[in-house]
Symmetry: C2
Subunit: 629 residues, 2 copies
């Protein structure tokens, strides 16, 4: 019995292309004499489609292509994921009933799973956290069981399939069904009650998250071992998005033996047809555990995600504003790695506030990468804008009086930032047949330390799910592992991070950003990425208990070093919390899409409302106590 | 027995302010000798909070304020909505268990509802469509029943409360519990099985949608009549948002008699304590049905929503770029109505392509409204940008070769649009201590007929949920009903809509937008607002059947007038569908927040992925057939 795990690229919203791929992989598997081929969850329609699920014509089209796949199941058994529609019933939103389903086809027909009222298996558990909206669109097996007056245990039976002259009993799960820790039922355990079971299949559509594969291996190894039967986890590769947040799918399809060993793993981010002899599985050696550093995984996700995003929107060239700082330098390295130096135009846009140091570093970066390079000074345009704004009379027609606008130094900072992005870069990008990039990191994005329509803009924020320390780690990774030479100049790594928008941010005098990254990276992370999100009450509690650095995960001693007194500490905390809940949300609403790598990315993954900052009663009490001490 | 419906403004994310309001309304109700006061759903925490529900400190704080309200229930019975937390249990996402709950307090203590395992009533039905994400955060009564091995019927009993010396049996529902048409159970019917019931209460947090109140009156009148008992619907007023989409809450709290008559309605968008004598309810006359035109409701929602949004972000002044076209003129009227003319700066920014006609109309608009007014020409800045881009050498450092960028007429159009918004308006707004507005309508927004960082930008898109014909209707409404004189000049209403970014858009020659609003408004609406969303397959099917205009709801005869042949029709359809699914999504991702009034607004209400356009197999077949005819 030969099983083929078909780790295919699923293109969301394009059932025609996905079906073509499925049909070709079926042929390939047949050529390799596979008896069974397994495709990922939602391999026909794709998974992250927004509200496209509300288009009836799209649903009919997916059903139609599904029939082509069923017809092609000749001389091989095919397991695949697709949307299943019951046109006679309704979802709770009043729209047509839709199931996230697993189909098993053989001899041009569907195999009827025992326990199910339809000729397919229905997903039981519906993820509804982070970027997942399953409950919005799909009717779960739990709801169906309740509607039919049955229990899920009755409905969750193994499917009996005749292959190689005998009956095989397969436990079929869809993605979240294998992650049942926090649900009231565990589908795998329910199925396991109906012994014997020859093996389990988990068809998935599981986006990449840093560290998730380690956890999945622990969970699924234990499941296979507990069940005493092999488990085939088949995941898609590709790029899917929810508009604001873009996810890579790394595949990493894995075969677990009945002893819980990892016997085979398909490579990350590559299409792969992995053929395995079921009988040989239990004697195969366990594969060594992945011990690559985190930054290698991040690099791979960013490279794959950015490359595919560019391909999807048919963008072959980019323009990058480079300041001589770390974020734009790493962005330049990333895009040059993907598109080649001739397709990357780096633009340095000095004003009177930009030092010779950063101008020189910008040129050096361009030379190291071999890119296209231009210097377009902005001072003349900025001066013209200030002159127009301040000398044009403003008439109040109510009474005919006139006055003039004034431009403060803060207003001037933002005029510079917008001039660079919306005037120069956007114009240069259009002329170069390109898009321009947003080079923001996650720390800046958290507190909106950026200018809207200025450095906050661009077609993609490829680095916006990386904390500043990860951006530095990536710079080293590009130099050491990707290019094998210093492309990001050491001077850029060493210089103080600064926006250089005023004399107060003079890098040659060591002046720079108000964000102290070694501490704030970790403080901000606790606002967004912690399991139960941290808020000022938690932070101040930890501070008062002396456990703050431990809870945040930053280096010990920093808090005392940066904030001599409780008053300093509280002022800093409130400054950033006010921004995080205030202006930064307004900016994120209009920010470019973010490429997700962390356990919680901005956009659709971390949902937020423009409600302004809030401080709890306990926070206020604790603050009063600390300030009185 | 005197019942007070407390239609309060709920401020999302600010339990301290909400509790203060609740406590003051309790005092007011006591002064009016009410026996029972009813507050809206989630009146302590607010409802649309994004993922703030994941902050433990926020949950604790809401519990804490809830205790204050319970303590204040002395000499009066208080029904209020709050988040309820079971710290010992988990939601399906592994986070702490949260219920959307209704509390009844009396004599400083909670009344235990029969059937419930907690001292509060748990919401049964969880809306998970449009902007609603209830399932993401709240554990439903259905799930709890399953966990406890009970049925929802057992748990849904009326609550017995002693008031005025006798026991009253109250059926308590939370918002969606009263909208059970598409769910497998109807909570009101479940409760009604446990007779006798004296009256029903539905505490709601229900955002305004055009036409929703008519439907609610039909549904709730029928429920009260069917149950033969009065029903008190108490809704919040205020402004809540999901980041990208902003909702007004209109209140419109309503008392229905046991005959299904509407006996009392609190005014839209006003705080109101409506005290009613329960016994007198059945003899009160039915109120006349609302027969205001749609545009009056739209005006009220926009005025309230925009005014409150400005207050929330503490913005007292705005800058509006006015072109002499209808959208910016209506925006100018709206903001002047709200802020007064001295706080609204209108800026006209002509280039060589702008006609004397529109320049004159802009001035006339400013004079009619009495606003602040400036004319800042952009030609010099645009010329400088083009010169910099085209004369600065671009060096390819890979080989040292140099070349120059070219600026096409299309690139030049976008340079103008960005120059106006990101350079002039953003600068002027910062100098004026203001934000600048986005004046986009829904038709433009649908197909991205706008420039990113140009006319697509601003702090709020107040008109972006209005189709072009609604913008015109609003112009008339401002002139006739709000200002009572012509503030939007008739010339602006009459002129052809045009961007005036090139000679091809010369208004004096009658040339303008490629969007034919009398048809495209309705075509685009079918993509977004239809119950099952229309896609090209549906459109082409209707076209071939001759039922298109009827299905879209536009004027008959338009299709033949605009598109003499099937080829013309299909080219137009694909042009806009490609934009709707392509570049327009990229633009919407970075667009300002939208004020929602329709049944489906852009943003969090209509979720979308940047997956590119798709045409189904049936569409392609039908197209081939039509083109062959």
């Amino acid at each position: 019995m030969k099983i083929a795990m078909a780790q295919m690229e699923v293109i969301p919203g394009h059932p025609d292309q996905n079906t073509e791929k499925i049909l070709s992989m079926i042929e390939q598997a047949k050529a390799e004499h596979a008896d069974l081929i397994i495709f990922p969850e939602m391999s026909v329609p794709g998974y992250l489609l927004g509200d496209t699920w509300e288009q009836s014509s799209y649903l009919r089209d997916c059903e139609d292509y599904g029939r082509d796949i069923i017809a092609a199941a000749q001389g091989i058994t095919v397991i695949f994921g697709n949307i299943a529609v019951d046109w006679s019933k309704k979802n709770n939103d009043g729209r047509v009933r839709k199931y996230n389903a697993c189909f098993i086809a053989q001899n041009g027909k569907l195999v009827q799973p025992a326990g199910m009222p339809y000729p397919y298996i229905i997903k039981t558990l519906m993820p509804n956290y982070r970027e997942f909206d399953d409950t919005r669109h799909f009717f779960s097996l739990q709801k169906l069981a309740r509607e039919l007056g049955k229990t899920t245990t009755e409905m969750l039976e193994p499917v009996t399939v005749k292959m190689c002259g005998r009956d095989w009993r397969i436990g079929c799960l869809l993605c979240e069904d294998g992650w049942s820790d926090n649900y009231e039922i565990a589908p795998l355990e329910q199925i396991a009650r109906h012994q014997p079971i020859d093996f389990y299949v988990n068809i998935s559509s599981s986006p990449y998250t840093l560290g998730k594969n380690d956890k999945r291996n622990r969970v699924f190894s234990a499941q296979a071992k507990e069940a005493g039967a092999p488990l085939f986890y088949v995941n898609a590769i590709g790029l899917q998005n929810n508009g604001k947040t873009i996810y890579t799918f790394d595949g990493s399809s894995t075969a677990y033996s009945g002893q819980g060993n990892i016997c085979a793993v398909s490579p990350e981010y590559e299409e792969d047809l992995c053929c395995l002899d079921l009988e040989a599985l239990n004697t195969m050696p366990a594969l060594p555990v992945d011990n690559e550093p985190e930054i290698a995984h991040i690099y791979r996700a960013l490279h794959y995600g950015t490359k595919h995003f560019l391909e999807n929107i048919r963008m072959k060239r980019v323009v990058i504003g480079i300041s001589g700082g770390i974020d734009s330098a790493v962005a330049a390295a990333l895009y040059t790695d993907i598109l080649g130096p001739e397709n990357v135009l780096l633009v340095n846009m000095p004003s009177v506030f930009n030092s010779q140091t950063t101008r020189g570093l910008s040129l050096q970066l361009a030379q190291n990468l071999g890119c296209q390079y231009m210097v377009i000074p902005i001072q003349e345009a900025v001066d013209h804008t200030v002159k127009q704004l301040t000398t044009t009379p403003m008439t109040l027609w109510k009474d005919g009086s006139t006055s003039h606008l004034q431009v403060s130094s803060f207003v001037l900072e933002n005029i510079q930032a917008r001039d660079r992005s919306s005037r120069v870069l956007a114009g240069a990008a259009a002329a170069f047949g390109a898009g321009f990039t947003c080079n923001a990191n996650k720390a800046e994005t958290t507190v909106g330390y950026s200018t809207l329509y200025g450095d906050q803009s661009g077609f993609l924020a490829a680095l916006a799910d990386l904390w500043k320390h990860q951006v530095y780690a990536l710079a080293y990774y590009f130099n050491e592992h990707v290019f094998g030479r210093e492309v990001v100049p050491q001077g850029i790594i060493d210089i103080v991070p600064s926006a250089e928008l005023s004399n107060a941010q003079n890098v040659d005098e060591g002046k720079g950003d108000p964000i102290k990254y070694p501490y704030h990276d970790y403080l901000f992370r606790s606002f967004v990425e912690r399991w139960q999100k941290a808020a000022p009450e938690d932070i101040l509690t930890w501070y008062s208990e002396g456990t703050l650095e431990e809870n945040l995960g930053c280096a010990p001693g920093l808090v005392k070093q940066y904030f001599p007194t409780a008053k300093d500490f509280i002022a800093d905390l409130e400054r950033w919390w006010n921004l995080f809940c205030g202006m930064a949300i307004a900016k994120r609403i209009q920010a470019p899409p973010v490429l997700a790598v962390s356990r919680r990315a901005y956009g659709f993954d971390h949902r937020e409302a423009q409600n302004g900052p809030y401080y709890t009663r306990r926070y206020k009490q604790l603050k009063a106590k600390l300030l009185a001490e």
